[in-house]
Symmetry: C2
Subunit: 203 residues, 2 copies
C-alpha cells in the first residue's frame, strides 16, 4: 500500500502492530483521527502513555491496579477464604461479570507451556504458595484455568505444590455449555460432563 | 463492564471512541500494550501526535501531505492535463492502487449532502474552479464520486460550475463489477450498464 505521507505511514505501521488490526483498518483509524480535532489524538495518546507508565500490579494477587493493593484484595466485602487462580486479567473480568463469585483472585500471568518455553518459575506459582503461608484464613483454592493441555498441566503442578497445606483445591466444571446442544458438543467435553454428573435438583 | 483500574478505564474509553472499536476490543488492545515494553506504547503515541500536529494538506489538490505540495502534484512523471475529482484520501489510495491512472487529483474533502447540512461551499469546489483558472494545461476532469444521490448531486453541481471552461468532463463507468454475476446485480446498476454499453473489442 502506498501512503500519501511519511507521517501517515509511520502512524499506520505503529497502529497495525496491535493485535487484530491490519494496515487497512489502521489507515481508516488514522484518517479518522485526522478528521477529528487535534485534542482527540492528544487525549488518546496521553491515556495510553499514562496507562503504560503509571499502571501497577497488586502485590497480593498480581492483578492490574492503580495502587499497590488492588480494589478486590483491599475490599472488606470479599470473602478472603477463597482464592480463584486464573491465567490473566481478562479471566478476572470474565468471572466478575458472572456475579457468581465473591472471593479473591490470584493471577498467574501465564500458563505452564513447555512447548513455548514457559516453565513453573515463569508464572506466579511461588507467590501463591507464599500467599498461603502468609494468609492462614484461606480454605479453598479454585483453579479456573483453560481446558487445554497447558491448563491441565498447570493445574496439576499447582495441586502438587499446594498439597502440604491440606486445603480444599477445586476446579471449575467442564461440561456442555448452557444453551448448547448435545450433538454439537465434542466427545471429550461430553465425556467429562458425564463423569462429572451431579444429582438432579427438581426444586 | 467493570475495570480493574481507572487508568485502564480511561484508556479503554479513549480507544473505543475510534470507529469500529468497541469496549471489548479496546480492552484487548490495552492488555496487549501492558504486556509489551513501555517503548511500544511510547512509539505509538508519538506517531499519533506527530501525525496529528505535523500533517499538512497539499495547497493544490488538498490531499494529505508532509509538505505544502503533495508528492503527486509535485511529481514530473504525472500527466498534469487530467484531474480526477474524488471525495477523500481513501479514494486517491484506491485509484492509485489500480495503477490505471497517471494524472492529478482534486480532493473535495466531502460531498454535497443537504440532509447532513453540507452545501457546495463546505467542500473544495471553489478551489477546483480557481485551479482551472490557474492551470490552463488541464484538458479533462474525471469525476470519480460515489454512485449515490449525494455523489450525483455533487457531480451535477461541479459540471455546471466548470461549464464555462469548455473542458472535457467525464465520470467513471458504472456497471456490473468485474467477476460479478448478472443475476446478482441490482436493476439500477444493470440498467446503467446497458445504457453505457461499449463496442465489443474482439482483439
Amino acid at each position: 500500500m502506498q501512503f500519501p505521507s511519511k507521517l501517515v505511514e509511520e502512524a499506520v505501521n505503529e497502529i497495525s502492530k496491535l493485535p487484530g488490526i491490519g494496515k487497512k483498518t489502521a489507515l481508516r483509524l488514522v484518517l479518522h483521527l485526522l478528521k477529528e480535532e487535534p485534542f482527540t489524538t492528544e487525549t488518546l495518546s496521553e491515556a495510553l502513555v499514562n496507562l503504560r507508565t503509571r499502571i501497577k500490579y497488586c502485590k497480593i494477587c498480581f492483578n492490574i491496579s492503580d495502587s499497590d493493593t488492588c480494589a478486590i484484595c483491599s475490599s472488606h466485602r470479599r470473602d478472603n477464604s477463597i482464592i480463584c487462580v486464573v491465567e490473566n486479567t481478562q479471566d478476572v473480568l470474565a468471572i466478575e461479570n458472572t456475579s457468581q463469585y465473591n472471593g479473591l483472585y490470584h493471577i498467574l500471568g501465564g500458563i505452564i507451556s513447555p512447548i513455548n518455553g514457559i516453565g513453573p518459575e515463569d508464572v506466579n506459582i511461588e507467590p501463591l504458595v507464599k500467599r498461603l503461608d502468609d494468609f492462614k484464613e484461606v480454605e479453598e483454592i479454585i483453579l479456573a484455568l483453560s481446558a487445554t493441555m497447558e491448563g491441565d498441566t498447570t493445574a496439576f503442578y499447582i495441586t502438587k505444590k499446594l498439597k502440604r497445606f491440606g486445603k480444599k483445591v477445586t476446579t471449575i466444571a467442564r461440561g456442555v455449555p448452557v444453551g448448547g446442544e448435545l450433538e454439537y458438543a465434542d466427545e471429550i467435553t461430553l465425556g467429562r460432563s458425564i463423569l462429572s454428573r451431579s444429582t438432579y435438583d427438581s426444586n
